[in-house]
């Protein structure tokens, strides 16, 4: 009943492999079906058309900006959530992680009522001469909103797994909190930070719902690759499939190249030392 390898006990029943194979197939089959639909003779012209190149460039630029914003906002959040217990911490964590489960369109509506012209902050921003509606900054805001939890989750897990022994030692040796953070904590959890940033980048790249609701869609300004695919689908299925494949390729390249360490994922609560 139980599978044993040459070196020892794996603890995985044989039937688990069958279900795992079905699970893998469930993820891979739609991708293969899409590849089968690609019109290869037209593929290069379709993905190198001016609108495609503009959309891809905009997607890469906004995703990079969003990832930077996620790092700036997410690292302090993860540190506070992992290292300093305070009342309401669980609540804060729940709210920070909310965009993970929220439909992006809901995020878009929420952002609209915050940063839109009639929104909570929008009027003050407009008086200050900052116009967010229909601008590339709106795209970055939408992407940061949906991608931030990925960075926080990854980094908080890494911080908890790493523990704070080294930091305690550094502190007893006279290092100030700032120095401990810079010289001990961050280098220790760097792989976790990198994988969190990569996930945020990938999530930003795929952002669609919040962008469409909040930022609009204009070539070169707010029409990222997913929005371009959505639009092309209306008239040219071949173009939509070709661009989808391009997006998949970029996402696979980004995630595959930099996110190779699943052990740096979220540590369960019980693993905290």
């Amino acid at each position: 009943m139980y599978r044993r390898s040459g070196t020892g006990y794996t603890g995985i029943p044989a039937w688990i492999y069958a279900i795992a194979a079905a699970g893998a197939l469930f993820v891979l089959l739609p991708l293969m079906a899409m590849v089968a639909r690609v019109n290869w003779s037209q593929f290069i012209p379709l993905v190198t058309s001016e609108s495609s190149r503009t959309a891809l460039g905009l997607s890469l630029r906004t995703s990079a900006a969003s990832t930077a914003a996620c790092i700036v906002l997410g690292v302090p959040l993860a540190l506070i959530l992992a290292r300093s217990p305070f009342p309401g911490q669980r609540l804060l964590r729940a709210f920070v992680l909310l965009p993970l489960v929220l439909p992006p369109v809901v995020g878009g509506i929420a952002l609209l009522y915050t940063f839109g012209r009639q929104g909570l902050l929008g009027k003050s921003l407009e008086l200050a001469g900052i116009q967010i509606a229909f601008s590339t900054s709106a795209v970055v805001l939408a992407q940061t909103y949906v991608a931030l939890p990925f960075l926080v989750v990854s980094l908080e897990g890494a911080l908890r797994t790493a523990g704070n022994k080294y930091e305690a030692v550094a502190a007893t040796l006279g290092a100030r909190p700032g120095t401990v953070l810079r010289r001990v904590t961050i280098p220790l959890v760097l792989p976790g930070l990198v994988s969190g940033a990569v996930l945020s980048f990938a999530r930003s790249l795929g952002e669609f719902g919040a962008t469409l609701t909040f930022a609009g869609s204009l070539q070169g300004v707010t029409r990222t690759l997913p929005l371009e695919i959505y639009l092309q689908r209306e008239t040219d299925a071949d173009a939509a499939v070709a661009l989808s494949l391009l997006l998949v390729a970029v996402a696979v390249a980004v995630v595959g190249l930099s996110y190779r360490r699943p052990r740096l994922g979220v540590a369960p609560e019980g693993a905290v030392r």
Binding site: F134, G216, L231, Q232, T235
Partner: protein
């Protein structure tokens, strides 16, 4: 009053239906008939059909379907609303539709090219563009030319979708080139940008302005008649209950359907 009006509808529907059946008896006799002639000679309809209709028909078709079910007990109409091109994709991929109502002739032609419609489509409604502005009209828009004023945030449909194609036609007719801040994939998204106050103006259909109620103000413009959108309806070729499908189409194209559609702002073709 309500009951009386339903009786009138029943008689109308039955009349239109009888005429329709007489007109294309040869076409329907081959299909598996689910109705049986009653004592009075009026065909009794039964069974269920699924109607795929353009998103802009949502409120009108919901009303028409419930009226139809009320006048024809034992029938069930399931409605599926989406963008016309989405619906065409779904039907060609095998979705079980009996009736297709498109927001433009182009998408109906796509389905006809795929040999998936039965007979010729019937045009049952028209729609034209209108300028929608927030109730306060912050950019003081009063004509189509005003949309091109510098600083006015205009949102339109992308040229790839029917409302965007109509927008391009109107721009040419008016000799005004717009510099929109966003080109949306659906007319609902355009309307959303106006109702939320993000945009100063948007180009949507007359019916959308009507549906939005007091959330937006509609500004008609003369050039809109250069781009009249025609809505065709047809029985899907793979339908298992073509008789009921045709009866529903007769109700949509009949006088009851015309009234519901014109109340919602649609024009007659």
């Amino acid at each position: 009053m309500r009951i009386a009006s339903k009786h009138v509808t029943a008689v109308l529907v039955a009349g239109v239906l009888a005429a329709g059946l007489a007109g294309c008896g040869a076409g329907t006799s081959g299909a598996g008939s689910t109705s049986s002639a009653g004592a009075s000679g009026t065909p009794r309809l039964s069974g269920a059909i699924t109607v795929f209709a353009a998103a802009s028909l949502k409120s009108t078709f919901a009303k028409l379907a419930s009226d139809f079910e009320a006048t024809n007990p034992g029938t069930k109409i399931t409605l599926n609303f989406a963008g016309s091109s989405d619906l065409v994709t779904q039907i060609t991929q095998g979705a079980p539709a009996d009736v297709f109502a498109s927001a433009d002739t182009r998408n109906m032609a796509k389905l006809a090219d795929a040999k998936l419609i039965d007979g010729a489509p019937a045009n049952f409604a028209t729609n034209v563009l209108e300028i929608a502005v927030p109730p306060s009209n912050p950019a003081s828009i009063s004509s189509f030319a005003d949309l091109a004023k510098p600083g006015v945030k205009v949102v339109v449909c992308a040229p790839q979708v029917p409302c965007g194609a109509a927008t391009e036609t109107v721009e040419k007719a008016a000799g005004t080139t717009l510099a929109p801040v966003s080109e949306e994939s659906s007319v609902t998204d355009v309307l959303g940008k106006v109702t939320s106050g993000e945009a100063d103006a948007g180009l949507v259909y007359v019916t959308d302005v009507k549906t939005a109620g007091d959330k937006v103000k509609g500004i008609p413009f003369a050039e809109s008649d250069q781009a009249v959108n025609t809505y065709p309806i047809a029985t899907v070729g793979t339908s298992k209950n073509k008789e009921l499908a045709q009866a529903f189409i007769a109700a949509v194209t009949g006088s009851e359907g015309k009234k519901v559609l014109s109340d919602a702002g649609f024009g007659t073709p």
